[in-house]
Amino acid sequence: MIRFEDVSVTYEGAARPTVAGVDFEVPEGELVLLAGPSGVGKSTVLGAVSGLVPHFTGGTLRGRVTVAGRDTRTHQPRQLADVVGTVGQDPLAHFVTDTVEDELAYGMESLGLAPAVMRRRVEETLDLLGLAGLRGRPIATLSGGQRQRVAIGSVLTPHPQVLVLDEPTSALDPAAAEEVLAVLQRLVHDLGTTVLMAEHRLERVIQYADRVVLLPAPGAAPVTGPPAEVMAVSPVYPPVVALGRLAGWSPLPLTVRDARRQAPALRTRLSATKPPAHTPATGDPATVTTGDPAAAAPADQGTTPATGTATTPATGDPAAVTPGGPAAVAAVPAGSRVAGAVRVGAVVPRPRGQAAPTPGRPPHRAPRTPVRRSFFRRRPAPAQEPPRGHLAEIRALSVRRDHVQALRRVDLTVAPGETVALMGRNGAGKSTLLGSLVGLVAPASGTVDVDGAVPLRTPPQDLVRRVGLVPQEPRDLLYADTVAAECAAADRDAAAAPGTCRALVSELLPGVADDTHPRDLSEGQRLALALAVVLTARPPLLLLDEPTRGLDYAAKARLVAVLRGLAAEGHAIVLATHDVELAAELAHRVVLLAEGEVIADGPTAEIVVSSPSFAPQVTKILAPQRWLTVAQVREALR
């Protein structure tokens, strides 16, 4: 159906081809996944199928791409519109009309189909994608998952033989992603549609793929094959594959189900060698866990917020360590706890003023046994600092935005050194909550207190030293046209010593030249630059909104290392994310939001284990035992 014959694409002004030696074929009715690290040219390959590369983007395409027998050299994208349906990364940029029904019809109108046919296909597609209830809705009012489904529907109505999707689930919460993937599955199975898609979140899609085309490195020829074979050699792989590789399972499992079949041996080994590392941390938290929001919320308010976070871990501590089992285990945390306490003691008094002496710390700490740190870190900090047990405190916060109640009586406290993950559906109020912590959003009622200040009323130059936010689109923070200028501006803004920001950039992003334009950086590099800019002011509270959107596994691992280092230094971190694997690796606490309310707030292990959609793959595989990440398992097996 799709055939690449020795294709290479060179964009104008580029020294070498973006992709080279691409030679593969996608048979009819298969779902093929295009995988690879960021910047290897996945989008270019996808664009070549619809003819947008090179007709629309410019550049030179060598070789030949044929789709359903049509050569893209001689066919413009609009002439391929009846055989190829393309959905780009941002569905919003895809919509031409304002309502769902009109959008579904737009493509067919362009192709000149008969009105009766259009009517029938719109109705069919509405049913197929479960959009019937939304048909008259303005697109601007839809949620992320709904938009993605409308975008897919809008290219389905002309009945294309080929569907090309660029990161269809990256911006979606786990449930919405499953919704979209179920639709794709149905198209492939029932209608025989050929699907070619690129996706970074392999854990979500690998199980649906018939074949994988792996682009291992920029300009390298692709590796094609069945998913299990390709994953065995791939530089990018989901946690289930990582665990399979670690345990030496063969064949390599791709789904949680396959992995569970092979897991009993590993489970017994793990339970024999060492009890799961984080039972101590999860021993106490019966106070605030999942369950009835109505029941949880008053309980939360009942304890005074100052003691809320401080006492819960503290009382849990002795109880937790005793059942923790072997003395050896207890000894390790005890030893590092002292170290942790000292470090916090050194960091917390610092907040403003003498920021300069320790600019480049965080990344160095990163590689050290982060897992253990994650559960004792929370405790010493409040104990050391009795007068201020929390860095940020939100009480009974309600926010209205555009006639919608975005947050309802939310309570949240964040302690120094603590990492909190905010999770929940698209539109649950995560970004609004982060925005209210930096004063971007005015509360309708309730109070927000960050480091003793009210964010909304604090002048920006003062606020950056208390709290920093890396927004969903890191580009929003970058105005200058070179990295060096950006850094100089950041130093001025934060009144930091010249060179502070540049030093941070060099650590987070080794090998980036001063004169690079921020726009030319990859998604992950841009995030790192924005993070450096924010960290220049050394805010004790760091907020990140969807930091892993569009990041590959390597970039994600670097980010995790950096953030762990920061947490170890005493920074409090709050991240809003859909990425359960990220939350499992980083967060001490998970706060679940739904419709603007906190429905669960507790230690990561507690919350994610109890939720089928928020549980990371490792947890699902080793289910009765409570492991969260491959790193934990690796550590335990050592």
């Binding site: 003819g51 007709h55 519109a81 009309t97 304002d98 009517r119 009012t141 920006p460 130059q461 950056v464």
Partner: protein, 391 residues
């Protein structure tokens, strides 16, 4: 918590399930029962626009504040009962605010800059700024008379009514929906225009977002400098989005053309060009004193040729229409009611200019002329003949 609760919640759960089931069956059967009625607009968007524009025309015929207020109330009533829940319907509030601002600015100017209206009732005397002799005719400050203020208020109210009428059209039918009624040959240009129009709201949203983001860099998020500094990133972002949209449209078949015989193409070009020339010549003829005899026929011939050209040109585009809005008796009624208001007020302004333009010198209280007021009430007709949009 209470022992009764599980039972209760179970009961309510079942009730909810029943409701959901009922909703599902209703949803399934709805298309069968009334195909196309449930979710489609009840009226052709063109009818709403014609109605609103007619009210605007009517507003320009009078300065009587009572009649203008009546016009505003009538249109506002229709908007309140018939606007869709869509986001673009919220623009009515924006238009109302703009109208208020126009009114205030008009009055402020009359107060600050003086007015040519002679008056005897001095309200207050502002300190007058002496201006050099070359600025003669311009006055800053000075006496403010009640006559001048009232005149300015009447005038401002007329403009405000006009704006509110345009706002009503926007709230009742999005301009994009009008597009569907464009002739095929103009459709693609129309899409381009609409995309360009949506560029502005996106741009404003971007500016707001980026100005807010300045706060995160520790820079003041208010003030003109902030606006200037985000200018470039905003334009870059908007441009990128436009390019992405263009790529998506291209990939979805925008601009596909059908093969048309060369003969038809040439005829189209000739008809369109000739028609436009005819329109120009005809208009010139109508407006000059000498061309009274040939003006109208040439104009009509030109319009006819241009329309035929457009129709033929439509053959080049293979587009079809998905569920075009039908122009039914309701559309005629709505358009007719608007046209009647405009015509009757025009007539009244000729017959009874004094009632429609209440005097300011000498200052008299405006009275409500009976028949024009009844005519304005005709504008309420759509509120009763058009079924309400499902919310």
């Amino acid at each position: 918590m209470s022992p009764g609760e599980p039972k209760q919640s179970c009961g309510s759960g079942r009730a909810a399930a029943d409701r959901a089931h009922a909703a599902v069956t209703a949803e399934r059967s709805a298309p069968r029962l009334s195909p196309g009625r449930s979710h489609r607009a009840a009226l052709h968007p063109g009818a709403w626009w014609l109605w609103a524009v007619s009210l605007g025309v009517a507003a320009t015929r009078t300065t009587n504040p009572l009649l203008l207020a009546l016009l505003i109330s009538a249109s506002a009533y229709v908007v309140a009962t018939h606007r869709s829940p869509a986001p673009w319907a919220r623009s009515y509030t924006a238009f109302a605010r703009l109208a208020l601002a126009v009114l205030l600015v008009r009055v402020l100017f009359a107060v600050a800059l003086g007015s040519p209206i002679p008056g005897t009732h001095t309200l207050l005397t502002l300190p007058e700024v002496p201006l050099p002799h070359w600025a003669q005719g311009i006055r800053l400050g000075g006496r403010v008379t009640a006559e001048a203020v009232v005149f300015a208020a009447y005038d401002g109210l007329k403009l405000a009514t006009l704006l509110i009428c345009v706002g009503a059209a926007n709230a009742l039918a999005s301009p994009t929906r009008l597009l569907k009624s464009l002739p095929g040959a103009l459709y693609e240009t129309g899409v381009a225009v609409v995309v360009a129009l949506t560029f502005a709201p996106h741009l404003i949203a971007d500016v707001q977002r980026l100005r807010a983001a300045r706060r995160l860099r520790g820079r003041p998020d208010r003030g003109v400098r902030g606006l200037l500094q985000v200018g470039l990133p905003v334009l870059e972002g908007a441009l990128e989005r436009s390019v992405a949209l263009a790529a998506a449209m291209e990939a979805r078949g925008y601009g596909r053309t059908a093969e048309v015989p060369a003969r038809v193409r040439r005829t189209t070009a000739a008809l369109t060009l000739g028609g436009l020339l005819g329109v120009c010549a005809g208009t010139y003829g109508l407006l000059t004193a000498a061309g009274g005899s040939y003006g109208l026929p040439v104009l009509l011939a030109g319009v006819g040729a241009a329309l035929t050209g457009l129709r033929l040109g439509g053959r080049r585009s293979p587009r079809t229409r998905y569920r075009p809005d039908p122009w039914g008796p309701r559309a005629w009624l709505v358009t007719g009611s608007g046209a009647a208001v405009a015509a009757l007020l025009t007539l009244a302004s000729v017959r009874d200019p004094r009632a429609l333009h209440p005097g300011v010198v000498p200052l008299v209280a405006p009275t409500l002329p009976l028949w024009p007021a009844v005519a304005v009430l005709l504008a309420l007709l759509p509120a009763f003949v058009v079924p309400r949009e499902p919310s």
